[in-house]
């Protein structure tokens, strides 16, 4: 009754209809695609839209982005292209030596393609120095942090033929910061020094940010520096004797995950500090206002930076405000900067290499305005 061809054809029909079945009866667990991409929104039907063809165009784009099992289909395609041609389907990831993956923005910065010039850097550093001195008079600590980057940490693993630019933002920022006496932490330099002695990698091969271990090392240094500058004891997690070695995970795989393939790179073993609940939250802790980029999010996730402070306000790219205890983030326009600075014992401005040209993202200008600081030409030179 049911011959092999008949059974086969029924199987093919079922296979063709899998996506439709999955829509109504989600049998398979579908792992979402990693990376950043914009998906098309749906549209509503109207006769005008139909006859102008706009409805069909929008609807087709929407269906293309939202059909069930899409991620599995795309991963299969990506895996074949990766396995056969070593081709990536991620816009901003390149492979260096020893399977190290790099974000192309960092490589552009390493080549000096985004160098903004010494006069501009001098201006930025001078403004921060002026702000730092002004806040110091008000018993506030302003710490500037240059986060590390993978290209400077592991230049030996950059793609073949990558040449460092004659001038890079980081080099000139660091030089000017030293010249002007700006109180800052230079993690680029610190990580390079630690690399020789540190038993574990501070950057993962397949991630863009520091490793969990690197984040904890940096976290300790930041807390140490803030304690020293403010003379306030800041509680933090004692993690150094509690490190396990296990496979790279989470953010440590953010670049390889962005390739959306099933497998392709050797497993990397990394050190994972175990952050345990040992901070006494009733203990007196300072409050902090931070302006920074994704390195702070990373630090918060892996070092639990927030728990070291009684009040924690983080201005992400000085655009979105995350506040300890608040359910939602807020827009920067809703921030009363004078109040935020007055309430904070400590202020930290952090940026990694690729963002140095915009460090503070407008915070320094806004803060100078709040405190009526009008820098003269001599101060800015």
């Amino acid at each position: 009754m049911f011959s092999i061809p008949k059974i086969l054809f029924i199987f093919i029909l079922v296979f063709l209809s899998l996506s439709l079945f999955q829509r109504s009866f989600p049998v398979f667990h579908e792992k979402p695609l990693d990376g950043t991409f914009v998906l098309n929104d749906d549209t509503t039907f109207s006769l005008n839209g139909w006859f102008s063809g706009k409805y069909q165009t929008h609807r087709e784009k929407y269906l293309n982005d939202h059909f069930e099992l899409r991620s599995a289909f795309i991963r299969c395609r990506n895996q074949v292209d990766f396995s056969f041609y070593h081709q990536f389907h991620a816009q901003d990831v390149v492979e260096g030596k020893n399977h190290f993956l790099f974000n192309t923005w960092y490589i552009d910065t390493y080549k000096g393609l985004d160098f903004i010039g010494s006069p501009k850097i001098n201006h930025i550093i001078s403004e921060f120095k002026l702000l730092q001195d002004t806040l110091a008079k008000r018993n506030k600590v302003l710490l500037v942090v240059f986060s590390p980057s993978k290209d400077i940490y592991a230049p030996e693993n950059l793609p073949e033929g990558t040449k460092k630019g004659d001038s890079t933002n980081y080099e000139v920022f660091e030089k000017k910061a030293k010249q002007k006496g700006l109180v800052h932490i230079d993690f680029e330099n610190y990580f390079i020094k630690l690399k020789q002695t540190c038993p574990y990698p501070l950057f993962p091969a397949y991630g863009s940010h520091w490793s969990y271990y690197g984040a904890c090392v940096a976290g300790d240094s930041i807390i140490g520096a803030l304690e020293y500058l403010s003379a306030i004891k800041i509680p933090h997690y004692p993690w150094r004797n509690n490190v396990t070695i296990s496979k790279a995970e989470g953010d440590e795989l953010e670049l390889s995950n962005e390739l959306n393939i099933f497998s392709g790179f050797p497993t990397e073993m990394l050190a994972h500090p175990q952050i345990k609940d040992t901070i006494n939250l009733k203990q007196k802790r300072p409050s902090i206002l931070i302006i920074g980029d994704s390195y702070i999010l990373n630090l918060e996730a892996h070092y639990d930076l927030m728990s070291s402070f009684s009040s924690f306000k983080f201005c992400y790219y000085y655009k979105t405000v995350y506040t300890l205890g608040a359910d939602k983030s807020a827009d920067i326009d809703s921030l009363d900067l004078r109040d935020a600075i007055n309430k904070a014992d400590l202020i930290m401005v952090e940026s990694t290499e690729i963002n140095l040209s915009k460090i503070g993202w407008g915070f320094a200008d806004a803060a100078c305005k709040v405190f009526g600081i009008v820098p003269n030409t001599a101060q800015l030179n």
Partner: protein, 476 residues
């Protein structure tokens, strides 16, 4: 809607097949018709009414013609129907081109204001649709087949979605009987073989043609002044394989889909790049257009049965000129048609005799070279730019354009060339015949279905993961 789209593959196709297979036999044509109307309306929501209207008029005109005994009346009705359909094609496809050229003429000669013309949106598949309506009226006029009794059956012949927008162009008498009864073709074997054919076409389009097209686009976008000879060759080779795998892939999908629902469509391609002359090339490339041109233009012009050789050469040349114009309302298509027509006439005159002496390899090589040069005229709209491109192919350029193709390009180019020339040898032709004609054992079905599903997954992944999915033949 196009076959190689998520909308078609993930939504339309499974729903259509499920509904079609569970529908009782007497309602199957209704299902196909409804889905065909939806398929076409999706891309041409206004023009669908023009199709429905003109087919209604056509249906009754042809019925009237069939029942009319007087030859003069029959001719008048034939002329009315042909003029109506060609008029529609002319209005939508050629009016802009015609007035543009008239404007150039009158403004230069008579120094008057140009007539001007609002550019019209070309309805999907109008060139295919028009040619099929003409076959209906002409086939009935010639007595090759009686007209269909039912308007909706005629509508189905015209609007049958597998072949509606990019062919093959099916002559009425080839399909007429299948519309009313195709139960003999509705077997599981045919459904499976149709599915395999559909997937082969899909893979040809998505996995080869699109990749070739991406590189061809990059090369043709570059100014010829910056092109190296190597890049120009890679660009035109990529385009040569793109157009073949794109169009033959679409035809495979159409033939496969039709077979899955019991229709048998004529073949449209037969390894054209292995041709040993341009005459043979046109017997293997877009065969359904070639057959149409022969039956509805070349033979009415007198065909081979003309008084002088000059007239024969003119007929050949004229048919190809029209064929070129059919591909697009632009001088480069006209030139491309005339270019092929010229080679056809030259082959009739003396070239074939020379070819006989140079051996199969050189014949194929020369033919392929002529075809490649022809594709330059087809691809590049401006004649002077096409000449510049051809110069660049043969004269080295000191200015180095950095030619960095996609990592997959060379592999796919080799795969494309391998399949395009696979039947060059007799023994390889036998292998191909075996694949497509020998009976399938159960094991062979299992293996082929497995491979087909892998190609389906990769094709869908490619479509979903890439915005690059153009179809060349939709312009025609």
């Amino acid at each position: 809607m196009i076959f190689s789209s998520i909308l078609f593959l993930i939504y339309f196709l499974p729903v259509f097949l499920l509904v079609y297979y569970i529908t009782p036999k007497f309602l199957k044509n209704v299902v196909v018709l409804v889905f065909s109307i939806f398929f076409y309306s999706w891309g041409a929501p206004k023009f669908i009414f023009v199709i429905l209207g003109t087919t209604l008029v056509d249906f009754f005109l042809v019925k009237w013609m069939y029942n009319t005994q007087t030859r003069l009346y029959r001719r008048i009705l034939l002329t009315v129907s042909v003029c109506m359909n060609l008029g529609l094609l002319f209005y939508f496809k050629y009016s802009g081109f015609f007035i543009e050229n008239v404007d150039v003429f009158i403004t230069h000669i008579f120094h008057v204001h140009p007539l001007g013309w609002t550019k019209l949106v070309l309805p999907l598949g109008i060139s295919f649709y028009t040619f099929e309506t003409i076959t209906y009226v002409v086939d009935v006029y010639r007595g090759e087949h009686k007209p269909l009794d039912n308007f909706w059956n005629y509508q189905l012949y015209i609007i049958l979605f597998p072949k509606l927008i990019a062919g093959p162009i099916i002559r009425y008498h080839e399909l007429a009987d299948q519309i009313t009864d195709r139960s003999a073709n509705e077997t599981t074997e045919n459904r499976l073989l149709g599915f395999y054919r559909f997937i082969i076409g899909l893979a040809k389009k998505v996995l080869i043609a699109n990749q070739m097209g991406a590189l061809a686009d990059a090369v043709f976008k570059t100014s010829t002044a910056d092109l190296s000879a190597y890049a120009a060759w890679m660009g035109i080779l990529a385009y040569t394989f793109q157009i073949y795998f794109d169009f033959s892939g679409y035809s495979d999908m159409a033939i496969g889909l039709a077979r899955m629902i019991g229709f048998k469509f004529p073949e449209n391609f037969e390894n054209p790049y292995t041709s040993q002359s341009i005459t043979e090339f046109w017997r293997r490339w877009h065969m359904s257009l070639g057959r149409w041109m022969k039956n509805y233009l070349y033979i009415p012009l007198g065909g081979n049965r003309v008084d002088s050789k000059l007239r024969l050469y003119f007929n050949l040349w004229f048919v190809f000129l029209v064929s070129g114009l059919w591909h697009g309302a632009s001088w480069n298509f006209v030139f491309w048609g005339a270019y092929h027509g010229t080679f056809l006439a030259l082959e009739r005159a003396f070239l074939l005799k020379i070819y006989d002496k140079i051996g199969k390899f050189f014949r194929t090589f020369i033919t392929f070279l002529i075809v490649i040069i022809g594709w330059v005229f087809f691809r590049v709209e401006k004649f002077s730019d096409a000449i510049q491109f051809i110069k660049r192919m043969f004269i080295s350029n000191p200015k180095e354009y950095k030619f960095i193709p996609d990592p997959a390009f060379y592999t796919l180019l080799i795969i494309a060339a391998f399949f395009a020339f696979f039947t060059f040898f007799k023994w390889t032709q036998k292998i191909q015949d075996g694949v497509f004609t020998h009976e399938y054992s159960n094991l062979r079905h299992l293996v082929t279905a497995f491979l087909a599903l892998i190609l389906f997954i990769l094709s869908v992944g490619n479509i979903a993961g890439s915005g690059f999915n153009p179809f060349i033949y939709f312009r025609f």
